[in-house]
Subunit: 277 residues, 2 copies
DNA sequence: AATGTCCATAATTTGTTCCGATACCAGATC
DNA sequence: GATCTGGTATCGGAACAAATTATGGACATT
């Protein structure tokens, strides 16, 4: 009986799938399979019924679940009780712009609730930091990258804009339109390039950095903009999000970290990441 | 936090010594040292004060002890609760003669109390069995051997025998004496050979197998005998145990087992062995 | 002083765990 | 039905962790 096996068992139980558990635990699927088999051998009983769409706990598995959870919680509590709460561990996170304040603050909240001992500092992603929350394309080659969200970029139109009436929008429809361009945005750059390739142009009306200002200008009917498809954008009544039939782009936002980040810092971060999915 | 580390910590705590814990856990001393250090790193605090005559738990170590014991007990209880009590595991032990009924039955009692699930069968050590309790000299070369007791052989004299008056006894004093010879006893054979080498002889009055009969004949004043130095022999008032100045022999009684004995059987056995020391 | 005991460290060997690739199975889709 | 998709089990080799032997230093005991 080892803790690792119980952790894998719990993850599998909660996920209802060995593969999903493997993704959550950041190990390969065979590791989980082997650990569960070992546990089953030790207990002398099957814990899961395997079938094509995942695994279903047996009666024994269901019986084990609360025990395993309890044991795991106990072991965590023991460690916790020895780590002084006053020896707060500093954690510096580099946050890219335009993450969506709501979503991001929720994520940070979850992280800090999970791990009392962190003392968090937020900086720009170019500055020295323990880990960064950025798009996958900003990730350095030596860094690991753990995805958190996927943002599909949409065209934001002011409510009542003539184009909102068209059932299908393509790049050609945007020719000559007023546009709010967000700098440092990969999706924007890609979009402009796609226009250029088709010899289409838009009229830049503003160059700015934050999504919040873009949105405000769209809502003020200054022009169109590309914005990520966030719930808070969909909720706006004075702005409409539209899909483009011949251009689409999603960026993956996630946690980038050096391979030699201490696991005491890394693990809670990764857990906060998977908790989002 | 892993179970193994906690096991080592507990053993060290109870033994008050890393080396002793290593012996009990059947691993080398550095393994324990490393595991404890790892645990200390994880908890962020020292668990033992090291000094020359062993280790003494710190306050943190004392605080950890009941928690660790609890966690370990919990994990064992979980495993236990899944192993059906009705699927008793057969265990066949080969017991050599002359082990000392009292001592041996105590050992077996301890074993069975420790492990409810065993269904014990006792056979002679030549018969097929899972493990044997024999002297080290009876151990086959491929078998592992775990010592349990050491038996020093002594000369048993009837109370009132003339030789009991001599302060020092040597082999030469035994020349021509009546003797009760126990067959299949390594110590007896060695003893007779030693006599032979010094061209001394004794008068064999009986050849028998069990220590109990030997003792009875000594007590009945039939002659002298070699018997192991057991408390029950010392307690006899009609028999005296004496040391020989120029001959001595101790045999090591222990558990002999094949290297591929399943650990589910082996571990409780080894635990019963170390519990004796 | 010399010896013995104990713990820590270093270097090596051994044994597990993990991974990627592959095989296989069952249900959904065409 | 053939194919595709998403799932699990199994295999051989790579990476890692754990155990071992050997050694050194600190403190008692002889």
């Amino acid at each position: 009986m080892d803790i690792r096996g119980l952790r894998y068992f719990l993850a599998t139980y909660k996920a209802g799938s060995v593969s999903a558990a493997a993704r959550q635990c950041h190990v390969a699927q065979p590791s989980i399979s082997a650990a569960i088999k070992q546990l089953e051998d030790e207990l002398g009983t099957a814990l899961f019924d395997r079938h094509a769409k995942g695994v279903r706990p047996t009666a024994a598995g269901q019986r084990l679940y609360p025990m395993a959870a309890g044991l795991l919680a106990d072991s965590a509590a023991i460690v916790q009780s020895f780590r002084q709460p006053d020896q707060r561990q500093p954690l510096t996170l580099g946050l890219m712009r335009s993450l969506g304040a709501q979503r991001m603050s929720g994520w940070l909240q979850r992280l800090l609730q999970m791990e009392e001992r962190f003392e968090l500092t937020l900086v720009n992603p170019e500055e020295p930091c323990d880990a960064r929350i950025i798009t996958s394309s900003m990730c350095h080659p030596h860094e690991h990258f753990e995805p958190i969200w996927q943002d599909a970029y949409r065209l934001a139109l002011p409510a009542g804009h003539p184009l909102t009436l068209k059932p299908r929008l393509g790049l050609a429809d945007l020719h000559g339109q007023s546009f709010i361009i967000r700098e440092h945005c990969e999706a924007n750059a890609h979009f402009l390039q796609a226009l250029h390739q088709q010899q289409l142009t838009v009229q830049p009306r503003a160059h700015l950095r934050t999504i919040e200002y873009s949105r405000a200008l769209v809502q003020a009917n200054v022009g169109l903009a590309l914005v990520p498809d966030w719930p808070e954008h969909r909720k706006c009544t004075d702005m409409v999000l539209a899909e483009l039939s011949d251009w689409q782009r999603t960026v993956v936002v996630g946690l980038a970290y050096s391979p030699d980040l201490p696991s005491a810092l890394l693990e809670p971060l990764l857990q906060a990441c998977t908790a989002c999915q």
